[in-house]
């Protein structure tokens, strides 16, 4: 008899998302009836289809553009309704606190005066935007779209690793992975009470309408992209299509009399809300980096005049800073008077002498991260690092301690993953996406990223990561 999918699968000492979850019983039984050969065939078809559909990110080499798919693993990651309820409420709590924090630091700064967060951590942060001081935003919502990176330790506890409160990406893969699974594995999905991912676009545009400038009855929303050369261009296309709004670039927009217009075949046409996928620095050469070619001159004037809504707001990067992250449990208690539902990973803030000393003393056991980087760059994973890498890390820490945090090396949970024709355990994380207008809604599931290299803990797509469909089942 041909071996079936989970025969001989051994998650070793790690927490396995598939074997430990009671909610995965139906799926496990169905996978047991499927041969490895059949799984490989369906996986190959699915990945070929993703490529043809152009569900790709773009990389550049030798001035050529190469479209790559985010490698898609067809064995789903499964969460029970209870687990999801816990994650969802934890995320809503966290985003509520983040928005209160941002409103506070751009207004009265109680949180700094009350000594909850060191003022210099906020006020000297390169993502703190003084021009946001005193601007009142509808519903006090700064972070309309948030991606929260969550990991699971060897005991099965969910821990927040990072908040992505600027321009998080990946949601298009959540929806497209589901479409792919519906086509490739209809037999796995039958009657398991799977929560849909279909309505993300509708929820997103509703939230954007909610934060539109006051007094506009039929606001025009656009999605602002850096253009076809951006690696996340597919996602921009996806989101514009799902919302049914124009996908524009900076050169399509202009500001006159503090109002934003787009260039159309019939002349200039008003724009009221911009979901921007361009970082603050590049958004307006008049207000930020003068050499930016991607942005729109005068956008900040229109914004400050109240004629424009931006999602996310300007200056949210200060809230997802890795150093500010360390204070998030205290920030939640301060604003909400509640204990955090989702815990942080224990974090040592190297700007604090004691934490620096601890980090230097235990370098080989810790993960050291620069506070300002994204995409998994600049990280030193102590237990995996060579002696030389550790010494380089030590030198950087001593030279600029405030730029680093350290965390214990979490034994990330694993999920069965098809690699080179075999099903093996691979480490996963989870990035749920939350949308906030007047209130917060979380897309059930989220993006499960999987580190495809054996033993690797780095799940970023730029570093050999892939993705899985995430199933929240009843």
């Amino acid at each position: 008899m041909n071996p079936s999918v989970l025969d001989g699968y051994d998650p070793q000492e790690f927490y396995c998302e598939m074997l430990r979850s009671g909610a995965s019983r139906a799926v496990r039984e169905r996978l047991a009836g499927l041969s490895i050969e059949a799984l490989k065939q369906r996986a190959a078809n699915a990945n070929a289809e993703l490529y043809n559909l152009g569900i790709t990110f773009t990389v550049y080499s030798d001035s050529k553009t190469i479209d790559r798919i985010l490698p898609f693993d067809v064995i789903p990651r499964i969460l029970s309704g209870e687990e999801w309820q816990h994650i969802e409420s934890g995320i809503v709590q966290r985003i509520t606190a983040i928005n209160l924090l941002l409103d506070d630091i751009y207004h009265d700064q109680h949180v700094l005066r009350d000594g909850i967060v060191p003022p210099e951590l906020i006020l000297t942060n390169r993502n703190y935007r003084p021009l946001m001081r005193g601007i009142d935003l509808p519903h006090k919502t700064y972070v309309n779209i948030c991606g929260t990176d969550i990991v699971r330790d060897e005991h099965g506890a969910f821990l927040v690793l990072e908040d992505n409160a600027r321009t998080p990406s990946g949601v298009s893969y959540v929806v497209e992975n589901r479409h792919m699974m519906l086509r490739a594995f209809p037999d796995l999905l039958d009657e398991i009470g799977l929560r849909p991912t279909e309505n993300y676009g509708a929820k997103l545009i509703s939230a954007l309408y909610e934060v539109a400038p006051a007094g506009i009855s039929d606001p025009r929303v656009v999605l602002l992209s850096p253009g076809t050369y951006n690696s996340a261009y597919f996602e921009h296309v996806f989101l514009a299509r799902e919302m049914g709004v124009p996908l524009v670039e900076g050169r399509d927009l202009l500001v006159e009399d503090d109002r934003v217009f787009m260039r159309t075949t019939g002349g200039l046409s008003r724009v009221d809300v911009i979901y921007r996928r361009i970082e603050d620095d590049y958004l307006d050469p008049e207000a930020f980096l003068p050499e930016s070619m991607l942005g729109v001159r005068g956008l900040m004037r229109a914004y400050r005049a109240g004629n424009l809504a931006l999602a996310n707001a300007i200056g949210t990067g200060v809230a997802d800073d890795k150093a500010v992250y360390a204070y998030m449990p205290r920030i939640i208690r301060y604003y909400l008077g509640q204990e955090p539902i989702l815990q942080n990973v224990e974090t040592h803030i190297c700007r604090e002498p004691e934490a620096l000393r601890y980090t230097l003393d235990n370098l080989a056991e810790l993960v050291v991260k620069p506070v300002g980087e994204a995409g998994g760059y600049g990280i030193t994973v102590g237990p995996k690092a060579s002696r030389q890498e550790l010494e380089e890390c030590r030198a950087k820490l001593i030279a600029d301690p405030a730029n680093y945090i350290s965390q214990p090396c979490i034994k990330l949970s694993v999920a069965p993953t098809l690699v080179d024709g075999r099903v093996e355990p691979r480490h996963v994380d989870l990035r749920p996406f939350a949308v906030t207008g007047s209130s917060t809604w979380v897309l059930p599931g989220g993006l499960t990223r999987v580190a495809l290299r054996r033993g690797s803990l780095v799940v970023n797509s730029s570093q050999g990561g892939g993705s899985k469909d995430t199933w929240v089942v009843a």
């Binding site: 559909l53 921009h236 019939g266 046409s269």
Partner: protein, 329 residues
């Protein structure tokens, strides 16, 4: 808000259609030359195809002779040649990539697969026996694109600019096709009316997919004047300049009134001038004054129409030398 269209999108959709139409026509020309058009000694004139596209300088910079091998290579798989089929489809795909939020997924997928198939072609795929099926595949892929577009593309402003691009390019290609025979393959006096001369005119009709329709109108008689008249002026032939310009006129009028677009009157005036010429001259008058000169003047007027459309709707006025290609994205 389907009532507005970004100027940049209008530009891209116009050029998407033009590049597809251009690739299809290039496949037609290469196919016909490969299959049907031989001179009295059975030789094929590949040099004329290079001349047709005004590519002599670039072609002979890298090739010493215009053989079937070198010309087909140059025009099918040479990614460094901007007028090759693979380059043309690459430009079409780049425009489609920009338009992905506007066009249907099916349009994108088909073009994506088509392009990837072209990129994978190697010299061995261009062996003599493989050429006819290859050209048939290219033509069919272009027509599949057209069919998918017809069946899936939302009928808003973008649809109009797509069709405007398609008809302008098609008219332009028809004039070039006619020019190749009349100007470049000009037979010696003794060959006029010879079996070889006439078979070349038949080949021309075939390359424009007009052979059978022409036969229904002019059973048994192939004359240069009738073939030229058919390709230029026949109102029912979908590739005739006359038909294409009538469609352009209809589309331009409709898009302006339906979407209350204020600009575009200069393009309409240029078009009126061209249509007046097409409507009043008959083929003997055209031949009398010189067919090549006439085709040249049509091409110039198509360029003028394109420039006026760019100025009115796409938000920029191209340089005269750049009117035959899309603005670099």
């Amino acid at each position: 808000m389907p009532d507005v269209l970004l100027a940049r999108y209008a530009d891209c959709i116009f050029w998407l259609a033009r590049y597809i139409e251009r690739a299809e026509n290039l496949a037609r020309i290469l196919d016909v030359n490969e299959t049907f058009s031989r001179d009295s000694r059975g030789g094929q004139n590949w040099r004329s195809i290079v001349q047709l596209n005004s590519d002599e300088e670039r072609f002979f910079a890298t090739h010493s002779t215009a053989s079937v091998h070198s010309v087909v290579n140059f025009y099918v798989i040479d990614a460094d040649n901007p007028t090759s089929i693979v380059s043309t489809i690459r430009y079409a795909r780049e425009n489609a990539r920009t338009l992905r939020s506007l066009i249907s997924t099916e349009m994108w997928v088909q073009l994506n697969i088509f392009y990837n198939r072209l990129v994978a072609l190697r010299v061995a795929d261009l062996a003599p026996g493989n050429l006819a099926p290859l050209f048939a595949t290219v033509k069919e892929a272009c027509q599949t694109h057209t069919g998918i577009t017809e069946g899936t593309f939302f009928r808003d402003q973008g649809w109009y600019f797509y069709q405007l691009g398609r008809y302008i390019e098609r008219a332009d290609q028809t004039t070039r096709l006619l020019d190749i025979k009349y100007h470049l393959l000009l037979p010696s006096v003794s060959d006029v009316g010879s079996p070889t001369d006439l078979s070349q005119w038949d080949a021309l009709l075939r390359s424009a997919a007009g052979y059978h329709a022409y036969r229904r109108l002019h059973a048994g008689t192939t004359t240069p004047a009738r073939v030229a008249g058919f390709l230029l002026l026949n109102p029912a032939f979908p590739r005739s300049v006359h038909h294409c310009m009538r469609e352009v006129g209809r589309l331009l009028g409709e898009v302006k009134s339906r979407y209350a677009l204020r600009h575009g009157n200069d393009a309409a005036e240029e078009l009126d001038r061209l249509q007046a010429v097409l409507g009043t001259l008959d083929i003997s008058a055209i031949l009398g004054a010189g067919l090549h000169e006439f085709l040249d003047s049509i091409q110039r007027q198509l360029i003028a129409i394109t420039r006026e459309l760019s100025t009115a709707f796409f938000g920029y006025t191209p340089e005269a030398s750049q009117v035959q290609t899309a603005r670099l994205q």
